[in-house]
Amino acid sequence: MTALGDYKRERIDELAARAGQLPEGDAGLSLTRSAVRRLRRDPVAITGAVIVLVFLVVAAFAPLLAPRDPVTQYLLSEIRPGLIPGSQEGFPLGADNLGRDLLSRLIYGSRQSLLIGVVSTVLGLVVGMTLGVLAGAFGGWVDTLVMRFVDIILSIPGLLMAITVSVLLGQNQYALMIAIAVVQVPIFARLLRGSMLVQRGSDYAVAARALGVRKSRIVFGHVLPNSLSPVIVQATLSLATAIIEAAALSYLGLGDPDIARPEWGAMLANAQDFLSIRPALAVWPALCIIVVALGFTLLGERLREALDPKFRR
């Protein structure tokens, strides 16, 4: 029987490749990159990313974007108790209770708010992950000890713990970040441990053991990277929670002591005293918080789907 000529063979190979289930562009893409690819095609994820990006840009270029200095009390002499100048020439959103430009404060506020979000999340992530890795990698009594500790922390009301942390560390912006981070720690620790336990029993981890790969490399080279995706998702979501949490702490008087430095949470909390006369002072920062939180959450939720092993094919 005559087999196909070489030319035809190639043609068929080509067709066969095209018929394969993977989109051509995906060839050789790692899971992370193909997840990013999927995200790029997801309108919801894009919406989230655009929101986050816009605010990042605003934060980065605040000095260029803000029409005025955010701390100068331009209109202080016009302020009377019960009267705060509204929007006017040169102050598109009006002034705040000390005669500062609200718009500029909102723009500069993105810096501090995002910073709080990022730093506290990273902090919570690092500590939580360290605990999680300890528990997940060693198992046994280390695991028990770490997890009991985490349980203990979990059973303390979160806000209460944040309050005591701020009180303990004195009030400054770092204490605020730490206070927010502390609440995140048990979440990350449990998440990572759970996911590492699953991955540790997976075939590829056993395979690595069978290959004689060193334990440290199995943990850090295989198990850990594969356990990270829920943690990454949680971290994205935490960015949003951290900003909201900052507002709550500011409201309780535990925020950044340099309150001239604009930050949405503190602005919102501070505006509570003027709700009856200028609700805009509260509405704008609240809106900013909600929109940014929305952005991070949308991104996080979609990331969860994109990283879900169910979608790996």
């Binding site: 019960g82 008087g253 002591p257 309150i259 001239a260 005293d273 003027f274 009856s276």
Partner: protein
């Protein structure tokens, strides 16, 4: 008033007098109702309606007037007070008020033991009388004698300017000896590690006031007092008053607007206008307080004071740098004044010829330059989570002053702390370089202001509010004034003290501001008191 109340109150037949129920929003819970153990405003507010002392203040002023004592005489040496007591006065439990009862109360205070000697229980007694029968320094109280049914003679071993004004404090209310004994009022021991108040203080406070204690629903944070039908004077108009605890200012305002309460205290200055526009009555009290910016500028060896602030020129520079006019106009309610003395003008001993340190940034910069202190970094402490009558919005105050100071070339490092206890502790331990603090007078007496701040015993420690400073002239003037039996000598001495203080400048007085309470349109007859000593017995509710 609700249907329930009218249903109950009708039987009496005094419907004309029957005035319904007033609900008043308080910012915090009272501690209990035995004012001898109290020191906080919320407890006092209620105690004032239930209890009366020998003396009181003219409604709406700080003027001392008789209450349970019809009048009083002071001996030449100022050591013996003879009180002529009102007749026909009965305690709520039906027992008679008389000289015996007065002396019983004085002796009770003097003979407190154990936990009752804790400063948290008997702050005012200790502040005014100095000590207890069994303590090392037994204080100024000598004894009390009931010379007849209606005459009580109280004697002291030392003259003080605090007496008799302090006797108008609720802490020195005269309570029923029978009830005090029956309910074991002094036995605070309860448990070894916290004060358990007695049944008397919690459930059976028995005074002579226009209202009687009815109930305290702790869970729901409400205290109910009802009219004392057998009051010796003009009986109260209202049937009953309920004090409801609502910690948040916004919540209080909204509850008033929703009509579920009839009034509240600690109105945010920002809300005055809105509330008035909505038809509520904002009752502004005359200012009887002082806000100052304190310096840690002590001048003795070993003080922990800030070196830059030890230079008087730097302190003066700061005083010149602060635009107090704008602060008073923009941040404080209408009726506020720029302060020159560390006490309001209405207090005897206020001096009008003190150095004032007008707003002059140029001068400030120059002084700093001279002192070589330009660019100095100061840790500026301010409290969070609090609103005081003299400091309605600490954060705003802090920001404005900080800007002013930055303007003249000082560096400000903000430190924010929770008011109680962190802030108070830190500030009084002299941890702050500069800080905001103030005081509301308890009674009309200069020593209650400047003595509290600048007397020697407050300032001779290494870590004191203003740093350990030695100003023998000031200390002497204050001590002399306090001990002077003659009121006019006293006034001169206090004025002198005020001048000396302003020259030395351990702090900058900033403002006196009028706190306010607000009531609904139909609430009449509530006279705002500079001492926050409002009397609710004159209040009526209009339909």
């Amino acid at each position: 008033s609700s249907d329930r109340d009218s249903g109950e109150g009708d039987g009496e037949g005094d419907a004309a007098q029957s005035g319904g129920t007033l609900v008043f929003g308080a910012a915090g819970d009272p501690a209990m109702f035995d004012p001898a153990f109290a020191s906080d405003g919320e407890t006092f507010r209620i105690a004032r309606q239930i209890h009366e002392g020998l003396l009181t203040n003219e409604p709406g002023t700080t003027e001392l007037v008789p209450a349970l004592a019809e009048d009083w005489e002071v001996s030449e040496d100022g050591l013996e007070y003879t009180f002529n007591l009102r007749e026909d006065v009965q305690f709520h439990d039906g027992t008679d008020f008389n000289a015996e009862a007065v002396c019983f109360n004085f002796d009770r205070w003097h003979n407190f033991t154990g936990l009752a000697q804790s400063p948290s229980a008997t702050y005012y007694y200790q502040a005014v009388f100095g000590g207890f029968a069994d303590s090392e320094n037994p204080g100024i109280y000598e004894g009390c004698e009931a010379t007849d049914e209606n005459t009580a003679v109280v004697s002291f071993n030392q003259v003080t300017s605090k007496i008799p004004a302090a006797l108008s404090l609720p802490a020195f209310s005269i309570q029923s000896p029978t009830a005090l004994q029956e309910y074991d009022a002094d036995n605070l021991s309860g448990s070894e590690d916290a004060i358990t108040y007695t049944e008397y203080a919690l459930e059976h406070p028995t005074g002579t006031g226009p209202f009687k204690f009815e109930s305290w629903d702790r869970g729901n944070g409400e205290v109910t007092i009802v009219r004392n039908e057998d009051y010796w004077g003009e009986p109260a108009k209202l049937d009953e008053i309920i004090f409801r605890t609502i910690p948040e200012g916004n919540t209080r305002r909204q509850e008033l607007q929703a009509g579920t309460i009839d009034g509240y205290d600690f109105v945010s200055p920002a809300d005055y206008q809105t509330l008035e526009d909505d038809g509520f009555q904002v009752l502004v009290r005359d200012p009887f307080n002082i806000l100052y910016l304190g310096f840690n500028g002590g001048n003795v060896e070993g003080t922990q004071a800030n070196p830059a602030l030890q230079d008087p020129r730097v302190r003066q520079a700061i005083a010149h740098a602060i635009d107090r006019e704008t602060i008073v106009n923009s941040l404080l309610p209408e009726g506020s004044e720029v302060a020159t003395n560390f006490m309001p003008p209405s207090v005897d001993g206020w001096a009008d010829d003190v150095p004032t340190y007008e707003y002059d940034p140029e001068r400030a910069r120059q002084l700093l330059e001279e002192a070589g202190a330009a660019g100095t970094t100061l840790r500026f402490y301010y409290p969070t989570d609090v609103s005081r009558p003299y400091l309605p919005d600490p954060a705003a105050m802090f920001q404005v002053i900080a800007e002013d100071l930055r303007e003249v070339g000082l560096n400000i490092e903000p430190v924010a702390l929770q008011w109680n206890p962190d802030y108070l502790q830190a500030v009084q331990a002299g941890q702050a370089d500069i800080h905001l603090l103030g005081w509301t007078g308890d009674y009309n007496d200069a020593y209650n202001f400047i003595g509290t701040f600048f007397a020697e015993d407050q300032n001779n420690q290494a870590s004191a509010e203003f740093g350990a400073f030695s100003a023998p002239e000031i200390f002497a003037a204050l001590a002399q004034a306090d001990a002077a039996p003659d009121p006019s000598d006293r006034t001169d001495l206090y004025q002198e003290a005020n001048r000396l203080i302003k020259e030395f400048l351990p702090a900058v007085p900033i403002s006196h501001s009028p706190p306010a309470l607000v009531v609904a349109e139909n609430v009449q007859g509530l006279e705002p008191s500079p001492l926050t000593a409002e009397d609710f017995s004159t209040v009526t509710l209009q339909d």
